[in-house]
Symmetry: C2
Subunit: 305 residues, 2 copies
């Protein structure tokens, strides 16, 4: 799957992933109203609204980008019906040929971590059958519990040719409270990055590892250092656009081969119609606004090379 992701990035010349993080407040009124008329003001109604919203956006952008990253929290908040919408979204994006990165940030230990790995990337044994549950291509994982949390994911990734992105340095202001703390003169996130490189050796693709990492777009200096610590890890970079990162600051996240990083934008794409720049499309044509925003983002990212 990492080989497939790299090939798709190269083919489209677009190291870009769109975050499908549908807040109900992003969804245009005409979609929300229709869904709530059909299902009432219920969790099912909300879930139907975000699913229809996702579908229309995906239909308009799937040919421009290699991957999407649905943020499961935005579905989980609507309970079981929300998880139905999540699963529909994952399946639909895969049908459209997109690589799906489940932004689930799970992390636990032993058999519990194995259960998360199986549920999101693998197959669970039921009687004589092995069944896939959520079946994303990649998942994001939290490293706080150490190797006991990561190894079960790597085991499943090996069986299924799938991958993970491990949180190293997140893009939020308070990420430094723990991640930046110095250990023998080096920040914790660098230690995590070293482990990512070690874990990654256990499951290598052709040129990159199936074990990647997450580093926020707002730290170009850190990106430079961490790129060297983990030369074979794909870096998933959130924080472009809405969280303040710019294309200029992204160069250090890439290797000399122009690969090694994939930049995420969520709200900046899916709620593009709400920005002044794309307001001309109007709420009715929100998905066309998303397409225009993807085209602009891809051009912007290409400009750094």
């Amino acid at each position: 799957m990492i080989n497939q992701l790299v090939a798709k990035i190269q083919k489209l010349n677009a190291p870009v992933v769109v975050g499908l993080d549908p807040m109900l407040s992003y969804v245009p009124e005409h979609i929300v109203n229709k869904a709530l008329e059909e299902h009432g003001e219920t969790l099912e109604g909300a879930a139907e609204a975000i699913w229809q919203y996702n579908k229309e956006i995906v239909d308009h952008i799937y040919d421009l980008i290699p991957a999407v990253k649905p943020q499961v929290a935005m579905y989980e908040q609507f309970g079981v019906p929300g998880m139905v919408a999540y699963k529909k979204t994952v399946d639909y994006c895969k049908e459209k040929g997109l690589v799906v990165i489940g932004d689930v940030k799970r992390g636990d230990i032993g058999s519990t971590s194995a259960a998360y790995a199986v549920g999101h990337l693998g197959k669970v044994q039921v009687g004589s059958k092995k069944l896939a549950a959520f079946d994303e291509d990649f998942a994001t994982v939290n490293p706080y519990l150490g190797s006991d949390g990561i190894d079960p994911f790597i085991k499943v990734c090996k069986e299924e040719n799938k991958g993970i992105f491990i949180l190293v340095k997140t893009s939020n202001p308070s990420s430094g409270e723990f991640q930046d703390q110095l250990i023998n003169g080096r920040p914790l996130y660098e230690l995590v990055a070293e482990k990512v490189a070690q874990w990654g050796e256990q499951h290598m693709g052709d040129s990159y590892s199936y074990v990647g990492c997450v580093i926020g777009a707002t730290y170009p200096e850190m990106g430079k250092t961490l790129r060297k610590v983990m030369p074979k890890a794909y870096i998933l970079v959130p924080g472009y656009g809405a969280q303040g990162g710019t294309a200029d600051s992204l160069r250090p996240y890439f290797n000399e081969d122009g690969l090694g990083a994939i930049v995420n934008s969520s709200r900046g794409i899916i709620a593009a119609y709400k920005q002044e720049k794309y307001a001309k499309f109007g709420a009715e044509h929100f998905a066309e606004a998303s397409r225009a925003a993807v085209e602009d983002m891809v051009a912007d990212i290409r400009s750094i090379f």
Copy 2:
């Protein structure tokens, strides 16, 4: 809810929580077979099996304990049908008067963390209505992303009188890879514990905070230190029984008032019938074995005072 948890612990004289972490391999054959006959070898069949298993256990132990802790990974591995079983379990346990700690270990930032908080502890706005999704009483939370990940949970907890348990020091062998690293001579987990104490001040119950923490049962010395760092935080202690912790080692986790900690056992209770000690009950009477195991555990924990 923290006041309610403390009151129930005192009333039952049982600082004990049972982890509802149903691996399919724990579920007796007669239950699995019935569920798979009805639903086929499907995710629905597996989910029905774990739900029936949970229900029978809860029916046999609900009067002995203040709380249960379903581990969501064990449900999530069965996809959407698994999440249906999770929700049924949460609702059923609440009907039985149990405090429900959702062991979800979620952690993200800003609006994403807010979505998790809303989905598990709060209410989500859909049209003119505010709807509860999973609706546990407490949730476990991962601290790696700092205050930006915790604050949205505290906000929802204040609105709903609910609480969280933040991972401080986990019970797994590799937890030291990051959690034990020294920062100015003190381990990272102690820094996290200090933050837990600070976060906890924002939302206090009568005698304890709505913000608790998780510390594995296998570190009595650490328990002693951390107890002092966070005198007002309830400590959720996994690792009793199956993971090797004993009652003797648990004393330091409690305050002088005999409160301040709640000890979890999962497999040791729900799969008790598989142990030699409780084998006489047989697979048919697995839930009676669980009851006997709870009685033994409660007596064991009481013996430390």
